[in-house]
Subunit: 197 residues, 2 copies
């Protein structure tokens, strides 16, 4: 049979490093891959391609294959800048099709418990971009977690002196949800942020 | 940002082919891999290695890197042969440390609904191994599913004329389970197969 040092067991070991993949799932994935050598080749090739080609955009730090990325080099409104924690959040905002401005990816969030301070994020680069003068509004779109809120607060403090308009994504009841089942804190935010009709 | 044809999106496409991995999970895995180029290289390399090195053993059809496999070439009892559906089941039996004989992997199970008949399995090879004369007992360890039971029945029919002893793994209450919560069919099997103390 197969020893611990066999390539299949090493594949299981590599798959186990993925989030949410334990020993059993890794084994299942490995045996699934084993059935199709073509899929193994394709996955192996595309992994090398991603490793060699994908990198952060030099302007907004979103992951991209071209530099600057298609958003920075496209015909977007350059007066508005949306600050996000990572490229996944950027993609979620892009999927909404509701934003036509530029982005700035922080590549993380202030988290003293994990030892991540403002210096570990792309804050200096953000301040530099704002200082260039073409930005009129900054939309802070960090997550509504303790770390995301702390980061938003910090960015507000740092950017306020530049005189640029600073906004934050709205908190409130998500679409399609029943107020009955929404948590109390969200209802509180929704009440505080109520809009006149 | 990234287009559909970008390498990252193709990586997501490849990951989505894995069992239990949907669009969101694939994206999460891809972004996780993106953080570590070293892991990407390791996974890519080991995939190629598995593709090139792992193959079925020419004797028992278990997946292996050597030929014959370590079980077939080791010092195991050659008089007893355990018939399993696939290499995963073989690994489960090996983990029990309760079996010291040889194996025969069918590489599937009879399933008329999926168009899989005995000719698609390693039945001919099994009959040939038994005909060689060294096998005294065959333990049928196909799963207790409709297909597994049908396969066991078919193998019994085919192997009976050889005069070799044929046994089947015991059905019954699994270890550590409460009889109250065990399904009726299993209780029925446990009663029928009760052992005198």
């Amino acid at each position: 049979m197969l020893t611990k040092s066999s390539s299949l067991m090493r594949l299981v070991g590599e798959l186990k490093k993925l989030p949410g993949v334990g020993e059993r799932t890794a084994l299942r994935l490995a045996f699934h891959l084993l059935k199709s050598p073509r899929n193994m080749t394709a996955l192996s090739d595309v992994l090398c391609e991603v490793r060699d080609r994908v990198h952060p955009c030099s302007k907004c730090f979103a992951i991209t294959e071209s530099d600057p990325c298609s958003i920075c080099s496209g015909s977007r409104e350059s007066g508005i800048l949306c600050v996000v924690e990572n490229s996944q959040d950027l993609m979620a905002l892009e999927r909404s099709n509701a934003y036509r401005g530029l982005y700035h990816v922080l590549e993380g969030v202030i988290s003293p418990l994990s030892g991540i301070g403002p210096a570990d994020l792309r804050v200096t680069e953000l301040v530099e971009r704002v200082a260039e003068g073409s930005v009129q509004e900054i939309v802070i779109a960090t997550n509504f977690t303790v770390e995301g809120e702390a980061t938003a607060l910090y960015l507000t403090k740092v950017l306020k002196p530049t005189g640029v308009k600073i906004s934050r994504l709205a908190h409130g009841i998500p679409l399609g949800s029943d107020i009955e089942f929404v948590d109390a804190a969200t209802v509180q935010w929704a009440l505080q942020g109520r809009n006149e009709l």
